[in-house]
Assembly symmetry: C2
Homo-oligomer: 219 residues x 2
Amino acid sequence: MAQIAIIGLSSFGYFLAQRLSELGSEVLAVDNNRERIDKIKNFVAKAVIADATDRKALERLELEEMDTVVISLGEDIESSILAAFYLKELGVKKVVAKALSEDHARILELIGVDQIAFPERDSGYRLAISLNQPEIVEYIPLGKGVSLVEMNPLKEMIGKTIRELDFRKKYHCQIVAIRLKKEGEKVILPEPDFVIDNDNILVMMGRNEDLENLQKHTR
Amino acid sequence: MAQIAIIGLSSFGYFLAQRLSELGSEVLAVDNNRERIDKIKNFVAKAVIADATDRKALERLELEEMDTVVISLGEDIESSILAAFYLKELGVKKVVAKALSEDHARILELIGVDQIAFPERDSGYRLAISLNQPEIVEYIPLGKGVSLVEMNPLKEMIGKTIRELDFRKKYHCQIVAIRLKKEGEKVILPEPDFVIDNDNILVMMGRNEDLENLQKHTR
Ligand SMILES: Nc1ncnc2c1ncn2[C@@H]1O[C@H](COP(=O)(O)OP(=O)(O)OP(=O)(O)O)[C@@H](O)[C@H]1O
Ligand SMILES: Nc1ncnc2c1ncn2[C@@H]1O[C@H](COP(=O)(O)OP(=O)(O)OP(=O)(O)O)[C@@H](O)[C@H]1O
């Protein structure tokens, strides 16, 4: 099972620690605030009060044994930069750190953090896409210029089968699933002979430029 | 173009406002802190200093003309509950509110908020899945029990074509794309005769229970 340490029980850190424990990971929660440790200690394997900027305290926790250590400290960037620096020095294999700003994210990457978590920016960007184009029900960037988009069918698609539409050749995107609005947006994996209708939401995947071209058709 | 008002320039609200403007939406930013308004006013169509808990001030902004109003106020749940309540009373069509806790989210839904944004919880849950199972490169819940998962191929899949694997019937999941590790994780939409190899990351979609069964195979 995965062994994960979470340093800093911010809202993000707290949800992460709780969910990991539910999924079966062995979680060590670390925070310098007694109340937060008291709140989580019954939900995780181990909970320790410690100062993340105290190199000796980090050393005692033997974090290099962990699969991943997540730094989710709060308001000032200095504590998380120091903690990240010490963790990499102590030989921790994988360090994930929550960024408080884009400069903070870049500094963390420069000092060797393996992965950045930036909840506010990622959620803000994702919501922006679906608010900007309401025909897009959902938009999920998958990295490297590819995204998943959920959208209403174009007029020209209604009444045709997926095979007829020849999606991949014509639109350079792939329909990966269909949601049925009348059935509470239940998701189905459609056969090629599935007939598209007004009630469907198409779940599609493709390169961003191809998805954008597809949406230009809808206006 | 979409007309969106953002009330409260928290980190999430700020990124949202900026990204919406870049995408071509007409953004009205509202905050009671002059510094934050000064920081954003060159990036949005309009920026106003106002108190979101002042019903008259909200009324003057004519927010019922907006497609969506997003409430992204900070530390106390009271301000966002009041603001949400007033906005629905004033007839705003769609209200999205950022929740600070799960109780806060439930209260907001009870008073009529149309959509909840909860960056810390959503990112925390998403990271938990990929940390808990490192063979899962990425996990994206799509709602209603369906998710997108990126994972390394099972041993039994290597050397076979997608058609041979009969993915949909055998695993009840759909391979929607393949990432090529050697080419910087470039994404391709595979033909049915694509041969799976060690270098691939499979991007798959399916119901959560089916994806879980598939992962149980990988251990
Ligand atoms: N030096 C430190 N050592 C250990 N824990 C620390 C240290 N400094 C801060 N913390 C802890 O880190 C956590 C940061 O949470 P805080 O709520 O301030 O973060 P936040 O940036 O507001 O994030 P969120 O929006 O996710 O709640 C707190 O639980 C705090 O006690
Ligand atoms: N009554 C109010 N009217 C207008 N703006 C308000 C009011 N109360 C708070 N705000 C603004 O809401 C914003 C809240 O941001 P804050 O940084 O406190 O949020 P946060 O919960 O820490 O979120 P994040 O983690 O995304 O930064 C601030 O810009 C603040 O000025």
